[in-house]
C-alpha cells in the first residue's frame, strides 16, 4: 500500500505539471544529484580501468609469490621443491640465485642483475636491459662477472658471450636491468651457493593473488612465503591511496549537489507551507511532516543518484568498448583510456547519493515539521 506521504512526495516530484516553479526546483536538484553521481561513477570507472590494467600487467609479467629463507637462514636442502612441483602442476616453480654483473652490447655496457634459474635452458633479458643495450632476440651479449681470472694481460673479469633467446616483460614501475640464464651458466659466472629464493608463478595470471595461500602449508620450516600483494605492496598501496583520494575529491561534487538539494528543499518547504499547514490541519502529525520532506529529499537523491549512476555506467562502457579516448603508443602501457564499471563502485555511488540526500534533507525536514501550521493557514 502506498502511504499518503509517498503519494504527496511523488506528486510534488513527478506530477508537477501544475506547479512549474516546484517542478523546476525539483528538476534542478535532481539534475545536480544525477550529474554528481555520473561524475563519480566515471571517475571511479576510469581509476578502476587504469588500476586493473596495471594489476593485470603486474600479474602477467611478474612472479606471483616468492619463497624466501627466514632471516639468518638459507633455503633448506632436500626434495621439498620437487614435491611442491609435483603437487602444483598449475605453478611454475623456479629456484633463483644470482648476483650483479655487467652486460656489454655493441653500444656499451650497463650494470644488470643476473638471475640463474634452475628451470631455464635459454638466455633472456628483460625489456629494460634490451632497451638500454639496443638488443633483441638473436643479439649477442657479453656478460662480465665481478670474478677475476688471470690472463696474460693481467687479472680480467670473467666473461661469457651468449646469444639472447628472448626478451621478457617488465613489471610496471620496475626499472631494473635483468638477464636470466640457466643455473649452469650462472654458476660459471658467479660463485653461486644454493638458491636464494624460489619464484612461484601460476600459469593463469588471474590466480596470482591466491598462489601464496595455496602453498602456505606445504613449505618447510625456515621458509616464508611472500604473497603477490606483499611483493607489490608499495605500488598497490599507492594505487589504493590514489583511488581513495581522487574518489573522495570527486565525491565533493555530491556535497555541492546535496547543498543545492538542501536549498531547494528549504524553498519547497517555504512555498508549500500553506499546503503543509492544511495537511497538518487534516491530521498529519509533525513527525509525518518531517518524514514527508525526508522522503522528498531521498526521492531526489535516490532517483538522481540512480539515473546518474546508470548514465555514468553506460557512458563509461561506451567509452571503453569504442576506445574513444586513444593514448599515444609507447608513452602509456595501454592504447586507450580504459574504463571499468564495478558493482562496488555502483553501490558506493548510490550509497553516497542517498547519504548526501538524507543529510541535506534533515534540516529542511526538521524546520518544516517545527513550523507553526497557523502561519501557513494565515498566509495567502
Amino acid at each position: 500500500m502506498v502511504s499518503v506521504l509517498t503519494q504527496v512526495a511523488g506528486r510534488y516530484l513527478l506530477g508537477l505539471r501544475r506547479r512549474t516553479h516546484v517542478a523546476a526546483v525539483s528538476a534542478i536538484s535532481f539534475g545536480a544529484m544525477a550529474l554528481g553521481a555520473m561524475a563519480l561513477v566515471l571517475t571511479l570507472s576510469l581509476l578502476e580501468g587504469f588500476q586493473s590494467t596495471i594489476r593485470r600487467q603486474l600479474a602477467e609479467s611478474g612472479i606471483h609469490a616468492e619463497l624466501r629463507p627466514r632471516v639468518g637462514r638459507t633455503l633448506p636442502a632436500g626434495d621439498w621443491l620437487a614435491s611442491l612441483r609435483a603437487r602444483h602442476p598449475e605453478l611454475e616453480v623456479r629456484a633463483v640465485s644470482g648476483g650483479a654483473v655487467w652486460c656489454l652490447g655493441t653500444d656499451g655496457a650497463v650494470p644488470a642483475e643476473l638471475e640463474a634459474v634452475d628451470t631455464l635452458s635459454r638466455v633472456e633479458v628483460n625489456r629494460v636491459l634490451a632497451a638500454r643495450l639496443a638488443i633483441g632476440a638473436g643479439s649477442e651479449l657479453v656478460i662480465a662477472s665481478p670474478r677475476l681470472v688471470l690472463t696474460p694481460l693481467g687479472p680480467m673479469p670473467l666473461r661469457r658471450k651468449v646469444t639472447v633467446d628472448a626478451v621478457g616483460p617488465v613489471q610496471p614501475g620496475d626499472d631494473r636491468a635483468v638477464v636470466r640464464v640457466p643455473t649452469s651458466l650462472g654458476a660459471a659466472l658467479l660463485q653461486l651457493g644454493g638458491a636464494r629464493s624460489v619464484a612461484l608463478r601460476a600459469h593463469k595470471p588471474a590466480d596470482a593473488w591466491r598462489v601464496a595461500s595455496d602453498v602456505q602449508n606445504e613449505i618447510p620450516d625456515g621458509v616464508e612465503v611472500v604473497s603477490f600483494a606483499e611483493l607489490n605492496r608499495p605500488l598497490l598501496a599507492a594505487l589504493t591511496l590514489e583511488r581513495v583520494m581522487i574518489g573522495f575529491g570527486v565525491a565533493l561534487v555530491m556535497v555541492v549537489a546535496a547543498l543545492n538539494l538542501l536549498c531547494n528543499l528549504a524553498l519547497l518547504a517555504a512555498e508549500k507551507r500553506a499546503d503543509v499547514a492544511l495537511l497538518t490541519a487534516l491530521g498529519l502529525s509533525p513527525a509525518r511532516v518531517r518524514r514527508l520532506f525526508l522522503l522528498l529529499g531521498l526521492g531526489v537523491g535516490a532517483l538522481g543518484g540512480l539515473l546518474g549512476t546508470l548514465a555514468g555506467g553506460v557512458v563509461a562502457e561506451i567509452l571503453d568498448r569504442t576506445r574513444a579516448l586513444p593514448l599515444p603508443r609507447g608513452v602509456f602501457i595501454v592504447s586507450h583510456v580504459p574504463f571499468r564499471v564495478t558493482a562496488g563502485a555502483v553501490v558506493a555511488v548510490l550509497a553516497v547519493s542517498l547519504a548526501a540526500a538524507l543529510l541535506a534533507s534533515l534540516a529542511p525536514a526538521r524546520a518544516a515539521a517545527k513550523r507553526d501550521p497557523l502561519e501557513g493557514l494565515r498566509y495567502e
Partner: protein, 242 residues
C-alpha cells in the same frame, strides 16, 4: 515518551462537545504582546450549529484554532468531547484532527497537485486507508456536494464556490463529530455563499454534526441555531433559535 490517555472529565454532561473556561490566548511578548482572547467561556452541545461573529481581530479564528487543536491556549481549560485537550500529546492531537474534527478554511481550500476527488480523500489517506477505498468514499461525498462531474478536475480548474464545496466534502469524509469552518464564505459572492451555507446546513442535519462556523456575514450567521458574539474578553449569546 508515551503519554497517558486523556482523562475523562465526568463532571460535564456528555452532550457537551466543546467547553471552554477562562480561555486566554495572546501573541508576542513584552510591550508588543497582544492579548487576543482574555478569559473566554463557552459551551457547544452535541448537534448544535453555532455561528461565531465579531469584529476583525477579536480572535474568532484564534478561538477556532484552539478548539480545532491547531494551537494551545496560554491559560484556561478546554474540554473537547469531555476530554481535557491540554493532556493530549502531539500525535493524539493530530489523530483527533484527522478523525474527530473537520475543517473548512477561507483560504487554501484544496491542495493544487491533487484532483478534487483526491483532495476529498486526503483525510482518509492520512488515516492510512487504502487509496482505492479512500477514493470510493470520497466519490460519494463529491456526489453529495454536487460536484460529481468535476471529480477529476484540479483546483485551478474549479471555481471558488466549487473549491469550497470540495473543502466541505473533505471536512466530512472521515465522518467527524465536530465541524469547524473559518469564514468559509469569505471569498465567495452572495449566491455562492448562500449555496455553500445551504450545503453546510443540510450536511449538519443529515450527518448529525456539531458545527462551529466563524463568519462576518450576519445574515448567514442568523441561519445558525445560535450566534455567539465574540468581544475578546467575553462571548455574548445574541440569538438562540433552538
Amino acid at each position: 515518551m508515551p503519554q497517558s490517555p486523556p482523562q475523562r472529565m465526568a463532571v460535564f454532561a456528555m452532550s457537551e462537545v466543546v467547553r471552554a473556561s477562562g480561555l486566554r490566548k495572546g501573541y508576542g511578548s513584552g510591550e508588543r504582546r497582544v492579548e487576543v482572547l482574555r478569559g473566554i467561556d463557552l459551551a457547544v452541545t452535541e448537534g448544535e450549529m453555532v455561528a461565531v461573529v465579531g469584529p476583525s481581530g477579536v480572535g474568532k479564528s484564534t478561538l477556532l484554532h484552539l478548539i480545532g487543536l491547531l494551537d494551545r491556549p496560554d491559560a484556561g481549560e478546554l474540554l473537547l468531547f469531555d476530554d481535557d485537550a491540554s493532556r493530549l500529546s502531539v500525535e493524539e492531537r493530530a489523530h483527533w484532527r484527522n478523525r474527530r474534527i473537520g475543517f473548512v478554511f477561507q483560504f487554501h481550500a484544496l491542495l493544487p497537485e491533487f484532483s478534487l476527488e483526491e483532495n476529498v480523500a486526503m483525510p482518509l489517506l492520512i488515516a492510512g486507508r487504502p487509496r482505492r477505498a479512500a477514493l470510493e468514499e470520497a466519490r460519494a461525498l463529491v456526489q453529495m456536494v454536487g460536484l460529481e462531474q468535476r471529480r477529476d478536475h484540479y483546483p485551478d480548474e474549479l471555481s471558488g464556490g466549487e473549491q469550497q464545496r470540495g473543502a466541505v466534502a473533505r471536512a466530512l469524509v472521515a465522518r467527524p463529530e465536530l465541524l469547524l469552518a473559518d469564514e468559509p464564505t469569505g471569498n465567495l459572492d452572495a449566491t455562492n455563499a448562500e449555496g455553500l451555507f445551504d450545503l453546510l446546513q443540510e450536511l449538519h442535519g443529515s450527518r448529525s454534526l456539531t458545527s462551529v462556523i466563524v463568519t462576518h456575514n450576519e445574515a448567514l450567521a442568523s441561519r445558525c441555531g445560535r450566534i455567539l458574539r465574540l468581544t475578546g474578553a467575553a462571548v455574548e449569546e445574541t440569538c438562540s433559535r433552538i
